[in-house]
Amino acid sequence: MNKILTVALREFLAVVLTRSFALGILLPPVMMGIVITLMPALMNQKPPKVQGHVAVIDHSGVVADALVKAFTLESMEARREQEHKAIAEATSKAIGVDAKTAEQATKGASLPGAQPDLPTLSVKVLPPDTDPEAAKADMRANADKRLSDMGPDPRLALVIIPKASVDGEPDADNSQAHATTYPDFPIFTSPRLDPEVTKDIRNETGRAIVDARLRSSGLDASKVRQLTARPDADVHVVTASGERKGNEAAQILVPGAFMFLMWISVFTAGQYLLTSTIEEKSSRVMEVLLSAVSPIQLLAGKIIGKGAVGMLVLTLYAFTGMLALVAFAMMDLVPWQNLIYLVVYFAIAYFSISAIMTAVGSAVTEVAEAQSLMSPIMLILVIPMMLWFPILRNPNSTFAQVCSFVPFINPFVMVLRISGSEPIPAWQIPASMLVGAAGVCLAVWAASKVFRIGVLMYGKPPNLATLVRWVRMA
């Protein structure tokens, strides 16, 4: 046992301490983790506080008052509140968490300071006969200055509201009588003005103009707005145990992510195992090792060591994913027992596939030779990758159920089905694990036979039939 652990430790360190592992495998999730944890702090670097006024030349005479009201502190706070609600609602619809959780998440409970301070803006109404160029003079003078150097109450924007924007003008191109068009209005802004603030000025001016138009037609603007708001559907999924909110995006993303994560970890580890076995053979260090440990001890140590590498990759990526979910308060998307299943199915997938890959590695002397032996194995293993969508759409289809009991691909299929939309028969989970365990035993048994013969065999690489003969022979 001690020797197996010694081999395992070397196998683990031989991969983990390389630069390519650090760069290729560790860096991406670590970077993601750093970004997620540091995001709030980074977001705290708020844009400089906007302080100044917006000048309005209102040729219609009926819009400016509404604009003044729209940029009081209270109105701006109310608008921001509403924005949060809208985002939370959209999030809750897209991924199926309840609106309150989503609201908390988006409001900045976990991303404090993500929002810049509200701007201190006032609206200065200029007389309608003001020369627009003269009104822009202040902005022109400040154009190259920083926001903080512009003086106590700099002019940040100039809005000109043409009379026709409210009253309309006869459409020159349209021959129809009474046809009216409403021209756009210009906004001139300082180059330093936050685009978000520009957007706010544009929206509020537009809204004030529309309100003025409605008023001049004798309509109640707020009533009209209420009446014209387009309702959205509230999707509910009806299941045997009741109804739950529809969560289309999460239904596809979470199980898919689980399966890909497992696939990547298993194959990263398996690939390392294949190349390290080939390296030991081609560098002829194999027999030196076999003088100290038995082939089975070596095989076991290698599989355990590289399994630890795979587990490290899996944990790292899964942990990063969890961190992201926690950061966005969406942990309830992943039931904790699914994580346990993920680990169990990873173990099953890893041990069966790695055993085969080690056997292949032991039978050849070069990586290129391994490819021809690996291709039939890969053909079987891409099945869950190719069919993940149909399996997910219908986790209880005959095809999905049959695949759950085919060794080597069943861990991947089961991970998809368990985290899929539809509950699967409870007995299938332990039953598929048993089949998986049997697959592991079969693979390890066959691999140990091939390994014992293969490791000392040099020369012409064997074909699949030869490998089968070795299994039956030894």
Binding site: T6, A14, S283, R284, E287, V288, L289, S291, A292, L456
Partner: protein, 330 residues
């Protein structure tokens, strides 16, 4: 005392090829044995079976009193013929790893590795990657790897192959030291002169069969000298040559440059024949040519040759070796 290795009636075949046939021998503890034979004779297969890396089809092998080497792996040091190192691993780390695999652990391990590297003048390379070493240096590291755990039984498969004369001598010294420390050493080689210089006893393998198992002295005794090389003081005329050829115990004479080679019939001892030659002809020098291990080996192989063609080929080699200058030795 239990035997270091006891092999009884072992057979091993690979498909149609018989690699080892009915092999039996016993090696006592403390012996220094050479396992010699041509390439492909079955030496490495025999050693691998002793090491339990492969298993015999039939027969029994016991190693250090255990039924298989698996049970006494930590007491055996093995330098395989197919030996290598982890290219990217540092020399010190590699030796440490191998020692750990052989059950050595604890505080003394680092010092032991350092001491050994110092002995073979490689201390400066401890932190180098194995691939940065020359082939000879790598061989030395591999030798250390096979003895670092102070095994009772050391098996070296072709330890001298690829070594320059200086490193060859160093390795010989190290092997002698291990033997002097009371350890059993077996090494296989196809370079007979090496075995002849180092070993107490020789086991010779040909075509999977054991063809000879004796001490060096025993082999010399059993394989009588067949040639006397003489340097006449003056030129030998045809009459004189004929008279010499008729001396009792002489079968034929061959001229080789200024020398005469007397091929003995074997009916009388070489010493008696030598005395007669000296009486019959004034010589400036004369000696009995002892058969080397190589000569013995070729003799045995020739006798065992299955086809007339093979025998003819081997006899040609023999006659070339016995040609001008007498017996060749490596």
């Amino acid at each position: 005392m239990t035997a270091a290795i006891d092999i009884k009636g072992v057979n091993k075949t690979f498909g149609p090829k018989v690699a080892v046939r009915d092999m039996s021998f016993t090696i006592s503890q403390g012996e220094l044995i050479g396992l010699i034979g041509r390439n492909g004779a079955g030496k490495t297969t025999t050693i691998r079976m002793v090491m339990s890396i492969i298993f015999p089809d039939s027969g029994e092998i016991s190693v250090l009193g255990k039924r298989s080497a698996v049970e006494s792996k930590d007491r055996i040091g093995y330098l395989p013929e197919e030996r290598g190192l982890y290219k990217k691993m540092k020399v010190g780390v590699f030796l440490n790893y191998v020692a750990r695999l052989k059950g050595i652990d604890g505080a003394g391990l680092d010092k032991r590795v350092r001491d050994w590297l110092e002995r073979v003048e490689l201390l400066g390379s401890a932190k180098k990657k194995c691939e940065e070493l020359s082939k000879g240096m790598q061989q030395k590291v591999q030798f250390i790897a096979s003895v670092i755990h102070e095994p009772d039984l050391i098996i070296l498969d072709e330890p001298f192959s690829g070594l320059d004369p200086v490193n060859s001598r160093l390795l010989s010294t190290l092997v002698d030291e291990q033997h002097a420390a009371g350890r059993t050493v077996i090494f296989s080689t196809h370079q007979m002169s090496q075995a002849e210089a180092v070993c107490d006893r020789i086991i010779m393998v040909n075509d999977g069969n054991k063809v000879l198992d004796d001490t060096i002295a025993g082999i010399r005794r059993r394989h009588d000298p067949k040639t006397i090389e003489a340097e006449p003081l003056h030129a030998v005329g045809d009459d004189e040559f004929g008279a010499l050829a008729r001396l009792p115990g002489v079968e034929s004479i061959t001229r080789a440059n200024s020398h005469l080679l007397f091929n003995l019939s074997g009916r009388e001892s070489a010493e008696q024949v030598l005395a007669r030659i000296v009486q019959a002809m004034p010589v400036s020098g004369i000696r009995i040519v002892r058969p080397t291990l190589e000569d013995v080996f070729i003799d045995i192989v020739t006798q065992a040759a299955k086809t007339p063609e093979e025998r003819a080929r081997l006899e040609l080699i023999t006659s070339e070796r016995r040609g001008p200058g007498g017996s060749a030795s490596d």
